[in-house]
């Protein structure tokens, strides 16, 4: 497990970062990391929980889909808060991800027709106020890495 924890106070914004290897056992740590960030920016318990679960789903998806399973590859999580919101970025250097083709889960289907899985993206979108995927420079300055940005407003 690789871990770097950087906190910086710049331009009235509070930034912290953690870098973890793509292991499910690191979920505990990335959750704790974002929970602390959410609590410190004064979010209510229910909002903190939403952030925690959304990041868990995102981190799990990167391991499962971007890296095709657990590996030594890295995932970088950055939290940046300002007056009214928390911005969370997750970066990885796995398979490029384009969310457009991914179907919505059918939440009204009966048991037989219900798919197993396919809930992670739905959770992230429901729990956070903004969710967007893009390419960016990832950890180690490698190019063509995935960048996921999720924003949660304190009061909404």
């Amino acid at each position: 497990m690789v871990e770097e924890n950087i906190k910086a106070q710049t331009d009235d914004k509070y930034i912290r970062q953690i870098v973890l290897s793509a292991r499910f056992t690191n979920l505990e740590q990335v959750r704790q990391f974002v929970v602390e960030a959410a609590e410190e920016c004064g979010m209510k318990p229910k909002t903190v929980f939403a952030v925690e679960l959304a990041v868990d789903e995102a981190f799990s998806n990167i391991i499962d889909h971007a890296y095709g399973g657990e590996s030594q590859e890295l995932i970088e999580c950055t939290c940046q808060s300002d007056e009214d919101r928390l911005i969370i970025k997750l970066k990885d250097c796995g398979e490029p991800f384009r969310p457009n083709g991914v179907p919505q889960p059918n939440l009204d289907a009966c048991l037989e027709e219900r798919k197993i899985g396919g809930l992670g993206l739905h959770f992230m979108r429901q729990l956070m106020d903004e969710v967007s995927f893009s390419f960016s420079t990832g950890p180690g300055n490698r190019v063509n890495c995935n960048s996921l940005t999720m924003v949660k407003y304190k009061e909404r």
Partner: protein, 111 residues
Amino acid sequence: MEVNNTEYKNCDLITANGRIDSSTAPQLGEAMEAITENGRYKIVFDLSGVEYMSSAGLRILISTQKTCQRNNRGEVILACIPQRVYDALDLAGFVPLFTIYDSVMDAVGNI
């Protein structure tokens, strides 16, 4: 996370304690499969000790429910669901797919 199973004549009672995420869900999955592979399809899942559940846990629930309800041979009943876990079930649209009780006794008595 800790998972325990009590085998009754009428059903199996699964009790989990702790956090169910992608790291720990396989353990829950194994406990559920041990039951269904034993030819038993009536499962009461006592969630009172489950502090947290991500979609990895829900995946186990829905796949076990599919196995159990096949040919009307049984079902998974959920008991004592903490609010946070209920919220996740609700977000997933799972609430109508499970019988839910506030007490384990009610669940075991009615399965």
